[in-house]
Point group: C2
Chain length 256, copies 2
């Protein structure tokens, strides 16, 4: 579900990706959010017909009901349909303020509705999209050295936690390691070509990659959603990039 | 700059806050983003008149130029004016998908423009808003136990890093500890009253609170923006909630 890249330099990863996927006989659907003028703000207008409680409007509950009854707005329904058909979802965006641009945040807020994308029972490793792979592919304004455990912007692992764990893994997606294009606007043409060549190489084996590790649901107490005492060591040992559930231990480094 | 809280229960912190600030003879400006139908998506329409390079449009550079020449759209200019006049900025929102709702992300994307809110020279502890305090005040859907170093949603410290360090501190703001209203929708009326009472107590001393610690700019090498070797120990020792620049050490706990 790529957003329109705002700078021409970051259009290239999308073109490359498209060519690659087509060459593999993949069916490719693109949601170009800027071109679609995708509505970013979650409001009661996302529901066709009456809402249950307009005075005390609760977005999650109201959209759950509307989804049950087929009364979500057409733009949301269309995106949900694409998502259900996908085996792999690539979110292509320029990083804005350490996360996705508002238009893509709006896609998450509006498309990943309660009932459709998650329920209290179906989330994380029991999540609805557990058969689907997803990855974040993005360009940065900062150089790579700034985003490290000793860099001023901090560990990229930490920056991506809310997106990768909190959104993608929460809905069950198998999260592949992020594809990061470091500061292409400041790179030489050769530097940009090298970035694309690396992406092209990665693409050859992308679908066989092992997803990032997150502690499975059965490691957590089903009341408090805290790691069970017997699971702490196991999870620390198998620690992938779970920057959030770190158990007070030093965070692992990104391995890609 | 509170957003309109979507559930009535989360309107209460705002009313309480308003009454408190008025009683202290503060001048209070509210930006109710939903009521304003605030435009969330950053586009070329945010600039009045010609853009410099429409074919290869770069938002940061184009808005910098427009800001220099007084050609940013009226809604952005108005929010920038409020921000310049403020001593304290409180962002009140319901947490959506581990961060702010898209409409507030759009406020960050569009209002905090290059030149106005930051430059390469003026950021972090040298940031433009270094005399202004800011804090995130928000409601969650999850219980507190889920957001811990052993919880399934992970350490709240990590979740807030992109917002607190990457947006607020990046622009220089003195970031006060977050005010978190845990799962008010699932709380009893007494539980909600207790949350408000705690906020009211905190408000009495809010302006005297010590901001969160972030390593100052002179601890970083001015080329790579990595901590200078001699600064690592100092920063680890003084470690506040800098989940990102963790130097491979265990993360500190939130102390509030």
């Amino acid at each position: 579900m790529p957003t329109r890249a705002l700078a021409r330099s970051v259009q290239l990863p999308k073109k490359l990706l498209w060519r690659f996927l087509k060459s593999k006989d993949c069916s490719v659907k693109v949601s170009d959010l800027y071109a679609m003028k995708f509505k970013a703000t979650a409001t009661a207008e996302d529901i066709t017909g009456e809402v249950k409680n307009s005075e005390h409007f609760r977005y999650a509950e109201e959209t759950k009901l509307a989804w049950d009854e087929g009364r979500l707005s057409a733009d949301i329904t269309e995106e949900q349909r694409k998502l259900q058909e996908a085996d792999l979802v690539i979110f292509q965006f320029p990083m804005y303020w350490f996360t996705v641009p508002a238009i893509l945040k709006g896609w998450f807020d509006r498309v990943l509705t309660l009932g459709f994308a998650y329920t209290k029972e179906k989330r994380y490793s029991n999540g609805i999209f557990k058969k689907t792979k997803a990855l974040l592919s993005f360009t940065t304004g900062s150089q790579e050295t700034m985003f490290s455990p000793t860099g001023i912007n901090g560990d990229m692992n930490v920056t991506l936690w809310p997106l990768q764990n909190g959104i993608l893994h929460y809905c069950g997606f198998q999260v592949l390691a992020p594809q990061i294009f470091w500061a292409p606007a400041d790179a030489t043409p050769e530097g940009r070509s090298a970035m694309l060549a690396a992406w092209n190489t990665r693409l050859q084996g992308l679908l066989d990659e092992k997803p990032l590790f997150y502690a499975p649901m059965d490691c957590f107490d089903c009341e408090s959603f805290q790691l069970k005492p017997e699971s702490v060591e196991k999870c620390v040992k198998e620690f992938g990039p779970t920057a959030g559930t770190h158990c007070g231990k030093p965070l692992p480094l990104i391995t890609r």
